[in-house]
């Protein structure tokens, strides 16, 4: 599903900062993977590259057997819309839209009619146990509810990969467990799930742990 070869990435903010120094990584379809590492190890940068939110300087990135390189922003948007679902630490819900509208938004960019997409969104909210909260705005929801809305939004476009960046970072331990269980359930339906985390408990509940250090992945973690 995901194949990275020799990915390099340098940030140029004042003095050049080499963040990724030749990352190799293979992730098969349907895996449930966590990426661990100290802050500054490059794990978030790696996730952004996987999500086509950022570009890389060197190497090759194949997503679903397609080379993701030098894409126009329009192509990138298309891939993100079709293949990837994002779950963020800070939820990234749009504050002036209610839960239902937030969940339905990816379908809007797919060009699906309003009635239909609202029906689908309601279905996904129901799966998350949030049907009664559909017309509430994000500031009326708890952290765990917000993250479940975000997960519903990530799932609604039937992505092949879910990328979760510290999904439990802003949650208490009780809700963290619930969120991880949700991700596990999603994975069991065949979706590849990649979680970036620095929490051992979270990593422990995934099937495979990839450790990053100083911009490279430990050799034993490259393949399953």
């Amino acid at each position: 599903m995901i194949r990275l070869t020799n990915i390099h990435k340098t940030y140029y903010n004042g003095s050049p900062l080499k963040v990724l120094k030749g990352v190799d990584l293979h992730i098969k379809e349907g895996e449930f993977v966590s990426i661990m590492g100290a802050s500054g190890s490059g794990k978030s940068t790696l996730l952004n590259i996987l999500g086509i939110l950022d570009n890389y300087d060197e190497g090759d990135y194949y997503l679903d057997n397609q080379l993701i390189k030098n894409l126009t922003e329009t192509q990138a948007a298309q891939y993100r819309n079709e293949l990837i679902g994002f779950v963020f630490q800070s939820f990234n819900l749009i504050h002036f839209k209610n839960a239902l509208e937030n969940v339905a938004l990816p379908l809007y960019y797919k060009g699906i009619a309003r009635k239909k997409r609202n029906a689908i969104a309601l279905e996904y909210l129901e799966k998350m146990g949030l049907k009664d909260w559909a017309h509430h705005y994000p500031n009326e929801l708890s952290g765990g509810q917000k993250q479940r809305v975000a997960i519903a939004r990530a799932l609604i476009s039937n992505p092949r990969v879910i990328l979760a960046d510290e999904p439990t970072g802003a949650l208490d331990s009780q809700t963290s467990v619930e969120v991880i269980d949700l991700l596990k359930a999603i994975n069991q339906q065949g979706v590849t799930v990649i979680v970036v985390t620095h929490e051992n408990e979270v990593a422990a509940s995934t099937e495979r742990i990839i450790r990053m250090k100083d911009g490279i992945i430990q050799p034993q973690d490259i393949h399953q």
Binding site: D54, T74, A77, R80, F86, N92, Y109, A113, R114
Partner: protein, 421 residues
């Protein structure tokens, strides 16, 4: 359906920023309001001028003699130059091809005019029958006639008075055949001409030869008026050429320097008419520049606000892009928002502008012309096509005001947009 959603997105954004939207909108509304009011005011001036010249013969020329300012061939300055019947003869003989109707004038100011118990001070002008088309005089129907050739040949003591004069002196009586006293000499009223609203002079007309002989002018005349006769009636250069030739001819006849401004003067209506036209075209351009400038200020305001709005929404756009929004959809969102603000508020400004100008026009039409009848402002409204132009201008303005901020919004990488707080 997608479009319905788009409108919803935009109105949600506008609702969230009510004050901002209203303030920017006001700038645009004010801009377009000013543009319309200024253009209408310019039109008012132009229409006023057109009205002033409407009835006049645009080919009329008036010439008068004066005193020399320059020495010429040993002759001293300050010599009086006096037009006489000979000048008329010269014009008719030597400039026959360039001159149409012609009438020398005797102008007498402040004569006492009396009829029974009514008295008044009037100016008396001695003219030839040909004067009618030069001054574009209009005779009232069934109210007699103007001076004719027989009146001149026989130096008849006849007078043509104005409609206003009839009101003042005769009330409901018919003026025709009545005897008027002008400085003690009795004249018979033979006709009535229509008082032009803007005429500032109280005038009565008598035959030129009568004026010359009765008031002791001999063959002297005060002025000569005539209509130019040209193939192309708007050819200013030709009219200037004719006038130069005439002045040259008179200069050699009266022995004065052609360059002498004092010896002889003239008023060339065509020249001044076209000059005035140019002047108003200039005013028109000026008005456009100011109006469009005001509008641009409004548009820059919108663009500025859109820029701030786009900056505030950086994170939102980042989220949208992570969810698969194409750059074009973000641009459309911002540009449409900008167009809606400009078009909506621009339209309000336009309605107020057109309302004000039409209102002023209505009030002006209700008011009677003032005593002098001088019109310098008339029908200060703008044409419908100009309103269309303004509408198109507004939409273009909205696109421009929105496009640059929108482009800025999508230039930033999605990940940087997401990190924005």
């Amino acid at each position: 359906m997608i479009h319905f959603q788009l409108w919803e997105e935009i109105f949600a954004s506008l609702r969230r920023n009510k004050l901002k939207t209203a303030l920017t909108g006001f700038a645009v509304a004010w801009g377009i309001f000013m543009l319309i009011v200024l253009l209408a005011a310019g039109n008012g001036l132009k229409n006023g001028m057109a009205l002033n010249y409407k009835d006049d013969s645009k080919l009329a020329v008036w010439m008068w003699s004066g005193r020399t300012n320059l020495a010429y061939k040993g002759l001293p300055t300050k010599r009086n130059i006096q037009f006489t019947n000979t000048n008329e003869t010269i014009l008719r003989k030597d400039f026959d091809a360039s001159i149409g109707e012609l009438s020398p004038l005797i102008d007498m100011r402040g004569k006492n005019v009396m009829y029974k118990n009514e008295k008044g001070i009037h100016d008396v002008r001695g003219v030839l029958p040909e004067f009618v088309p030069i001054e574009a005089l209009e005779m009232l129907p069934n109210q007699g006639r103007f001076i004719n050739q027989l009146d001149c040949d026989h130096k008849r003591k006849v007078v043509v008075v104005s409609s206003k004069f009839v009101q003042d002196f005769f009330k409901d009586e018919s003026p025709l055949g009545k005897q008027l006293s002008i400085d003690g000499i009795m004249f018979t009223v033979i006709g009535v001409f229509k008082e032009v609203p803007r005429s500032w002079q109280k005038l009565v007309y008598i035959p030129l030869p009568t004026a010359q002989s009765l008031y002791g002018f001999g063959d002297k005349i005060h002025e000569i008026s005539f209509n130019l006769h040209m193939q192309n009636e708007t050819n200013v250069d030709e009219s200037k050429q004719i006038m130069d030739n005439i002045k040259q001819r008179f200069a050699s006849y009266h022995q004065f320097d052609v360059e002498d401004e004092g010896a002889m003067g003239y008023w060339n209506t065509l020249e001044s008419f076209l000059f005035t036209q140019k002047l108003f075209a200039g005013i028109s351009i000026f008005v456009w520049i100011i109006g469009v400038g005001t509008l641009i200020a409004g548009i820059v305001g919108i663009s500025n606000i859109m820029l701030i709005s786009v900056k505030e929404r950086t994170k939102e756009f980042g989220i949208r892009r992570a969810l698969g929004a194409k750059p074009s959809s973000i641009i459309v969102l911002v540009v449409l928002e900008s167009i809606i603000i400009t078009a909506f508020f621009g339209y309000i400004g336009m309605v107020f502008g057109v309302g004000l100008t039409e209102g002023v026009n209505y009030v002006m039409k209700q008011m009677p012309m003032d005593e002098t009848g001088a019109v310098f402002f008339y029908n200060p409204t703008i044409q419908l096509d100009l309103v269309m132009v303004a509408t198109v201008l507004l939409i273009i303005a909205g696109v421009i005001a929105g496009y640059f901020p929108a482009r800025k919004a999508i230039r930033i990488k999605p990940i940087d947009a997401l990190r924005d707080e």
